[in-house]
């Protein structure tokens, strides 16, 4: 089983890294991150911090773009192009297919995130006024990566059932809501109507809480997150991803292909 999942994920990895549009996005992202080097010159304040802030924000935005761009067609492309027919006629379970596809894309995103983080680290290091080695960049990028994995799981769930456009709308909505859940929860709690309070509580637990993976602010102050925070985030990711993947597998198990 593991071997088959790995074969499918290796193939998905190959599919994504042979995608020219991904390279275009990555090149642009690296360009933008590189430009923060000059951006710091134009502004006042803590230069190194600006580099870290803007750079990490770029990694986040471009990472999400890549995850959504590749994720929304992850399964639907295979169904539309009928490439899935041959794969599923081999001794492969549908769940293995879903897991392999998701794992493969996660691996691609790991590489692109690492590339972006490495460039940012070098820019930060090379900055002439107060440049320094900032390992926090990698920690914050790891948080961004965890978020991307979660988005990939969601996008692959949607791509198994709907068109790419709808998957994009759903995934982007969940991405935006996922960063607002703490806020929505706080607002909901203020309500006098019990149903609204319950509803907001339910949403708070159902929606992915993407702020769990947001360690950008801390980095620039040099304070590294403690291991327990990282561990908690990883646990949250694992739990949420398993739930989403199980749902995908369950719904995909008896789907008719047209």
């Amino acid at each position: 089983m593991v071997r088959r999942i790995l074969s499918i994920s290796a193939n998905t990895f190959r599919e994504t890294i042979r995608n020219k549009i991904l390279y275009a996005i990555l090149a642009f992202a690296l360009f933008v991150i590189g430009m923060t080097f000059f951006l710091a010159d134009l502004s006042v304040g803590d230069f190194a911090r600006i580099i870290a802030d803007v750079g990490l924000a770029s990694i986040h935005v471009f990472g999400v773009i890549m995850a959504i761009f590749l994720g929304i067609t992850l399964i639907s492309n295979e169904v539309d192009r009928k490439t899935i027919y041959v794969i599923l006629s081999k001794p492969v379970r549908r769940s293995e297919f879903i897991l392999g596809k998701t794992l493969g894309l996660s691996f691609t995103l790991a590489i692109t995130t690492l590339a972006m983080a490495a460039v940012l680290f070098l820019v930060h290091l090379g900055y002439q006024f107060g440049g320094r080695a900032e390992p926090g960049i990698f920690i914050a990028s790891a948080g961004i990566y965890m978020e991307l994995v979660l988005l990939t799981c969601l996008a692959s769930l949607f791509s198994a059932f709907t068109t790419p456009v709808l998957s994009a709308i759903f995934t982007i909505s969940l991405f935006l809501l996922g960063h607002l859940t703490n806020y929505l929860h706080a607002v909901g709690e203020q309500s006098k109507v019990a149903a609204v309070r319950w509803g907001s509580k339910a949403l708070y637990f159902l929606l992915p809480n993407l702020e769990n993976f947001n360690w950008k602010n801390e980095v620039a102050y040099g304070g590294l997150r403690s291991a327990s925070v990282l561990g908690w985030a990883a646990g949250y990711l694992a739990f949420y991803a398993v739930c989403v993947l199980c749902l995908s597998c369950l719904l995909f198990a008896r789907k008719d292909f047209k």
């Binding site: 193939n11 190959r14 042979r18 995608n19 027919y85 006629s89 081999k90 001794p91 008719d256």
Partner: protein, 320 residues
């Protein structure tokens, strides 16, 4: 026949597809039952939209039936992942990962079938040259033509040396040479003891290749049986080709009724309804100074049977 193992058994298979929110679902297969025995080549015939591809999808768990049961090697098609290793499948108008080459794609298939790398490579080299793709083995599949895709489809279906091969329209999109190669391939599979189940629109191919045929029309089986049985031993007429062309008066003298012949160039083609008539006519023609070039009994062919059954749209009751 009955003592041979039944490899594929379909019992009462029924399938509908939803046709939209308000409309009632479209029935695509109704109560289809048929079977395929070990080491048989079985053709699956039917006009467009008869439900052939749907049946084949159900066998490969790409679609699920509403009612009825299909078993392969005695196991339900819906479970038994292990079962898949014994089956090779080529979908209709196959399409593969365009960013891979044929060799890379077959390696992926080998991995999924649990084959060792060396075995995969040696078998894929053999199969690629067998289907005529050895020059294109390192070309991106993106650049393949339709027929090349079809050939790669055959190679991947046979890679893991399956006992049963299910092919959905293996001849479509192939040039005459390609069709002949596929015919030979299917014959080889039979010689090697494999079982082949394939759908086709090319009835002449089915007629020469298949031990048995199953005909489907509007989701119902309209005929099933051995090709010879379906064609029957009944002789439709005996065709005589003679020359020179005699005038109608002299034909009548030779004992030939009017309206049974037609002129084709210098030749006269006559259709005698039976052996007795044919013999009588030949005697008359010979004594009238004609020479007889050929005398052929003409039987129904599968195509006519197909058009007959499908044209009526009637469902044959229980056949074998």
């Amino acid at each position: 026949m009955t003592n041979r193992r039944r490899i594929l058994v379909i019992e009462g298979l029924t399938k509908s597809f939803p046709a939209g929110f308000w409309r009632k679902p479209v029935r695509v297969l109704s109560d289809l039952s048929c079977d395929v025995y070990e080491n048989e080549v079985v053709g699956f015939l039917g006009p467009n939209g008869a439900g052939k591809t749907t049946t084949i999808k159900i066998l490969n768990r790409l679609a699920f039936a509403d009612a009825g049961k299909a078993t392969l090697f005695g196991e339900d098609v819906r479970d038994g992942k292990e079962l898949r290793g014994r089956i090779g499948f080529m979908p209709e108008q196959p399409y593969f990962y365009e960013y891979l080459t044929a060799v890379e794609f077959l390696r992926l298939c080998g991995q999924l079938c649990g084959m060792a790398r060396g075995e995969t490579d040696s078998r894929s080299a053999k199969l690629l040259s067998r289907v005529g793709l050895e020059d294109a083995r390192s070309m991106a599949i993106r650049k393949y033509s339709k027929g090349m895709m079809q050939r790669l489809g055959l190679a991947q279906a046979l890679l893991h040396d399956p006992e049963l091969v299910i092919l959905d329209e293996p001849m479509s999109g192939l040039d005459p040479m390609g069709r002949m190669e596929v015919r030979n391939l299917i014959r080889e599979l039979k010689t090697a003891g494999k079982t082949v189940f394939f759908s086709s629109h090319i009835i002449s191919d089915v007629e020469v290749l298949c031990d048995r045929v199953i005909m489907l029309h509007k989701g119902e089986k309209v005929a099933e049986g051995r090709v010879e049985e379906l064609i029957g031993s009944q002789i439709l007429y005996i065709e005589l080709v003679v020359s020179p062309v005699l005038a109608p008066g002299r034909l009548a003298e030779a004992g030939i009724p009017p309206g049974v012949g037609e002129t084709q160039g210098d030749l006269l083609v006559l259709r005698a309804p039976g052996t007795r008539e044919a013999n009588g006519w030949m005697a008359g023609l010979l004594s009238a100074g004609c020479s007889i070039h050929s005398c052929l009994p003409v039987k129904k062919n599968l195509e006519e049977i197909f058009l007959e059954r499908v044209g009526e749209g009637g469902v044959e009751g229980k056949s074998n």
